[in-house]
Structures are given as C-alpha cells and as structure tokens.
Symmetry: C2
DNA sequence: CCAGTATTGCACACGGGTGTACAGTGAGAT
DNA sequence: ATCTCACTGTACACCCGTGTGCAATACTGG
C-alpha cells in the first residue's frame, strides 16, 4: 500500500536520525540547543524545524517513544504473574538499556517542559506504583514509604546508577538491581538469590 | 572594634536576606533569574548585583554556606566514634533540615555552574564516602557498589525524599533514614532498632 | 545640618536560543 | 526532461536573562 518508497524512506530516516542523535546530545547536555542537535545529526537547524515545529515537539516525541518502550516492558513483565520482587528484577533487567538511553528525561522533568513530560510519564509512574503496591500488600516489599513515592525513588536510583556508567567502569545491572531491591525492603540473601540465577 | 553598627548591620541584613530568599526561590525553580530573586527579597535587581557581582558569585556563596554547615555536622557526628550505621542515623537526623534547605544544589549540580559547585562540594563528598567506606570495611554496610557511588546515591535518596515533603504530607526523617539504611545494606530489623530509640 | 553611602529606577549593550522567511540546489518521481 | 519536494544557507525578528552605567533618593553618622 505504501509504495512511495525512496523519498519517504530517506525522510523518515533523517527524522529518526534526528531523534536518535537528540537523545544522545541531550543526554550529554540537557540544555543543548536545536543547533547542536542539528549539527550532530549532520543537518541544518532549519531542517530540524521542518520535522519538529518547536523544541517542545521534539522533546514530546522523545518522551512518547520512551513511554511506549517502558510500558511495553512493564506490561510484559507484569503479565508473567511472578512474585513482585522477582518481577522487579525482570523489570530492571529489561529496562536497563532503555533507562540508560532515556536518562535525559529525568533531568528534563525539572524545568520548562517538566510539566508536559510529567504528564506523559504519568502512565509509567502508575504501572510502577502498582507493582510496588502489589509487593507491599504481598509482604515482600517494606512499607516505610507510600508505594507512589517508593517506586519513584527506587527507579530513580536505577537511573542514577545507570548514569554513573558513563564515568567509572561498569557497576552494571546486577549492582543496580540489588541496590534497588535492598531499598524496597528485600533481605540481602533473598536479593542475591533473585539476581543470582540469570543469564 | 567594629562600631559601625547600624549602617553595617542593615547592609549585612539585606545581604543575608538575599541569600536566604535566593535559597527559597531557587529551591522552587533552579532556573529563576536574578530579577525573581531580587523581587522576592523586596529589593531591586541592581542591588543584588551590588552584593554579588555575578550570578555565579551568588550560587558560590550559597554553596559555601552549605558546605560549611554540612562539614560541621559530618565532623561532629564522625567524632562520636560510634558504629558506621549508628553514625549514619545521627548524620541524617542532624542533616535533615539542612538538606531540605539546600536541596537546590542537587539540581544545580547539572548545568552551567555544575563544575564550580561540584568542586566546592568535593570535601563533603569525601567525608561521606569515608563514612560509607568505614561501614563497608566494618561489615555493617553492603558492598554491591563502591563507597564513592553508594554514598552519593544514598544521600541522593535522602534529598529526594526531603524534596517530596513539599508535595504530600511528611514522610519525614524516620522514613528517609530507614530507606537509606536499607539501601546501604543494613537489615530491616537492625535499621528499625537504630532509629527506634531516639528523641 | 551636611557628608557619606546603600539603595533605587531607569537606561543600554551584549549574548544566546527560538522560530520564521525565502531563494537556491539536488536527487528522486512522472 | 521536467516537476516535486526535502534539504540547504542565510538572513531576520523576537524574547529573555546577564551585567553595567548613572543620576536621583533616602537614611544614617558626625
């Protein structure tokens, strides 16, 4: 049906290249301007505005991408029917690369577009809170904090550790997962068991 | 010796008012301009520049204040000679109000003045890392992460929970302390014991 | 009362990012 | 071969925050 190939294709390709590069550039410096993004994508600033009328449109599209990927992972993982702590381990493992790519969103949540991003990220936050709530109700997670806050802090920590990957060697998924599990109130022995037997 | 009282006093007072207000305003919105700070302090923008030649000077002074207060607390707490986990509890308790006031620094560490702030915050980071390292060597803290990173993430969590105070009611020091202890690898029972018996 | 000075209330220059306009170019579509 | 359209290159207007300059004002100390 869509036979308008070559033209369409290269246009979509540039659009995607802009998005990919924007993620990298903004990941390095959340305050980067459209000019930097354009240059990094091997394109003129004007062209970026052809694809995304405003900077907010760019960021929004990026966020929508992230939300789509994250909810996909969360839905899949939730469907397994496993215990909450095991589900969390699976979640972190699957989300690790994604979280690293979209780490910029955590920085972008404060300032200027914070409101818009927060709104788009709402569904993800809910799914996350639900998972933690399930763990608390099941007695596998601690209850020092309300589920909503605990889930935010927990995956904030995962993002933070993923961030530090850029500096030192590689704390890696394993360390991040264990740390988040501990914070969720899972005993150390159980935490090590959960992450121990995996590919 | 310093008998130039009334004049000096009111000038110092405005200076301090500017600093205090700047902490509040920047706490709400780290991107606030000198104009907003001036207005909030009941002063004209030009006056702020009389006290602080540049925006960086303002932020630097704020940071120096924070470093002074934090190192004071850390030194005092470290001198008690108690176990690392007990010391951590004391540390969080004493630092709680301070951390809440200076929460903006965590946001300001990224972007523009990040480098300068990071440099000034260096000593605090070291003291914190030393404390965590001591706990790891003593076997009371877990070792999934290197002391430097673990300490950063741990007090990042404390700041994050302090931040959320503004939104919901009051998770409070207790919840924040327990959460950070858990993440440091302290067993839940021990953690509750540690925070349980205090004024 | 008079001098000194912190503060005010304007003014402006400067830099930097955003978003737009428009003529030109080159590769694919017809 | 010609048309179409994504992309180029350059220019411009606009907004906003920073930092500076200077005369006027108010308030305090001698």
């Amino acid at each position: 049906m869509s036979t308008q190939s070559a033209r369409m294709r290269s246009m979509i390709e540039t659009r995607n290249r802009i998005l990919d590069v924007a993620l990298d550039v903004l990941g390095e410096n959340p305050d980067a301007g459209m000019g930097e993004i354009a240059s990094a994508a091997g394109v003129v600033r004007r062209t970026v505005y052809d694809h995304f009328p405003s900077r907010l449109d760019l960021v929004r599209t990026l966020t929508e991408r992230a939300v789509a990927e994250m909810t996909a992972v969360l839905d899949e993982v939730n469907a397994s029917g496993a215990e909450a702590d095991a589900t969390w381990v699976e979640f972190v493992a699957r989300l690790w690369p994604v979280a690293h790519r979209y780490r910029v969103l955590l920085a972008l949540r404060r300032g200027e577009y914070g409101e818009a991003i927060h709104a788009l990220l709402g569904p993800v936050d809910e799914l996350l809170a639900d998972l933690v709530k399930r763990g608390q109700d099941g007695g596998v997670f601690a209850q020092h904090l309300p589920a909503g806050l605990l889930s935010q802090v927990a995956y904030g920590v995962v993002f933070a550790i993923a961030d530090s990957d850029r500096s030192n060697g590689t704390p890696g998924v394993r360390a991040a997962t264990i740390t988040s599990l501990l914070m969720l109130g899972v005993p150390e022995t159980r935490a090590i068991d959960l992450v121990g037997d995996r590919p």
